[in-house]
Chain length 347, copies 2
Amino acid sequence: MQVQSEKICNFAIECFRKVGMSEEDAKLVTDTMLVADNRGIHSHGFLRLPIYVERIKKGFINIHPNIEKVNDNTSISLIDGDYGAGQVVGKNAMDNSIQKAKESGLGLTVVKNSNHFGIAAYYASLATQENMIGIVISNVEALMPAVGGAEKIIGNNPISIAAPTKKGENPIVLDMALSNVPLGKILMAQTKEESIPKDWGVDQNGEATDDPNEVVNGGILLPMGGPKGFGLALLTEILTGVISGGQYSKTVHSMYDMEEKQSISHFMLAIDVSFFGELDEYVSRIENLTSFVKDSKKAPGIEETFLPGEMEFSREEQSKKTGVPIEEKVLKELHVLADSLNIKADF
Amino acid sequence: MQVQSEKICNFAIECFRKVGMSEEDAKLVTDTMLVADNRGIHSHGFLRLPIYVERIKKGFINIHPNIEKVNDNTSISLIDGDYGAGQVVGKNAMDNSIQKAKESGLGLTVVKNSNHFGIAAYYASLATQENMIGIVISNVEALMPAVGGAEKIIGNNPISIAAPTKKGENPIVLDMALSNVPLGKILMAQTKEESIPKDWGVDQNGEATDDPNEVVNGGILLPMGGPKGFGLALLTEILTGVISGGQYSKTVHSMYDMEEKQSISHFMLAIDVSFFGELDEYVSRIENLTSFVKDSKKAPGIEETFLPGEMEFSREEQSKKTGVPIEEKVLKELHVLADSLNIKADF
């Protein structure tokens, strides 16, 4: 289904306003969901609106957070997000990194006590608007085992790295989670009764399986690239939850756990490319690198080779013409939410 | 074969001295090879001594580099390595990052015009000795295709992230290249006449193959995790060769190309963990995270779950007792080198 962008956004903003969020914050959280759905990353789109609203109502997302610097220096800050919405805390943190990078070439902000912030690319891309490279890492609840383990001990922590290109053109944006695939892809195989590659997940005993049911029923997602992905997950956990002083690994809570605050940590780095030389020179090098990818010799049957983020931007362009693509099932849930908040949903 | 550490090191130092390198630099380059062989990372051990010597003789490695800061600020520097040995330039860069992090909590050094520097973990670990987290990235010559490509356009760039633990104990050290496996592993399958998983490499047309011969004869290594690994390779290329103003992607040269300088770029970040709070508190959190890994429930048949770097440190401890493990074939090559330099090799 395609929904008019203005209608769905106004609806989401009204939902957040109804549970007490400021208009500015409501617009920001809504924008991250819009961008996600428009780019085809539906797992982080309006699908999340009901759970965000629910967590605000429970007090697990603090709508009046006192976001404070715990420590601060020329190019580095530690921020306590006071359990604010991940989007609000996350943007605050990246804005801080960008400001520091404007003044000193480099800015790192580490944040504790935040929440789910949507797509990591949203924050990394803020840096590219200022001709900076953005690097964003977040921890999440434990979803993956150690190598050879049979227990969830580490998150499939998302990493986004975004680099600016020529003014007015899309940046190059990598945004990935550290599991081989998201759970959604295994659920889809289960629905279609298809087998899955043996490196997507293990059963509840930690044994390799090609049966999606075994993974879904008590099994565990596996890291991308085996020990490499596990290592990246562990070290990104240290760069977020461990150094921040927040929760980490098994003590981080899922947004679907309605008993506890999540306590997510983020790591947001901004590097000003003009520290290294003329911006024009950088842009011409990026264009050259881009041509290596786009003009590459192709394997048989392959028509195009893509830059990281390119397919997402192309979907976004399409969505801007045709409307926000949202699944019927999600729209139904949004109508249920509308009823519960006594808000009109005219989509 | 096991060789006495002192003998092989003195030999290597003498080789470097013979071709004009300072004693200090010769000791450093030798130490990186010793650490690599002792930890079982033989691809970066004394196997590389002959090619390093050869490249010094050709002038591709500058033994009297004028390592200079091109730009400098509180927490960030751009350094021109003047084609010095990668180890010399690399240590200089990480020392600079560490110094900045001591003063300001954070230090980033980006380096252009360097050479192959051995194992990335060597430099990331320098940071851990000062209770800092080290992040090291290097570019290398193009070895991998775009997704769906049939041409080498991007390096399997190494990434090392190292985190300090309790004083006197081994740090947690991830050190990985971005290809699924190194070429050596495919060569081994070729020797043993075994088939390989289809995600290790493609044939010369870019098509998936389980035949190691097809990869070795004009084929290409594949990135770990498919599009994710390709994306990481492209973005780490931007963080090194593109922003540094050095060579990048297809224009970086292999150390086995005897026509050109390599022109490698490095990215070296140091983050002082004490910026975020008491060191004791950090250490207790790291110990807790470590226990999550070590005490994890295991899959059937698995006796131990390991931290990143743990197996390498255990091999190193063993090697320190029994001698440096070096293959017979490599020892023969070192004897040939000894003859060519007119140096005695008593191992």
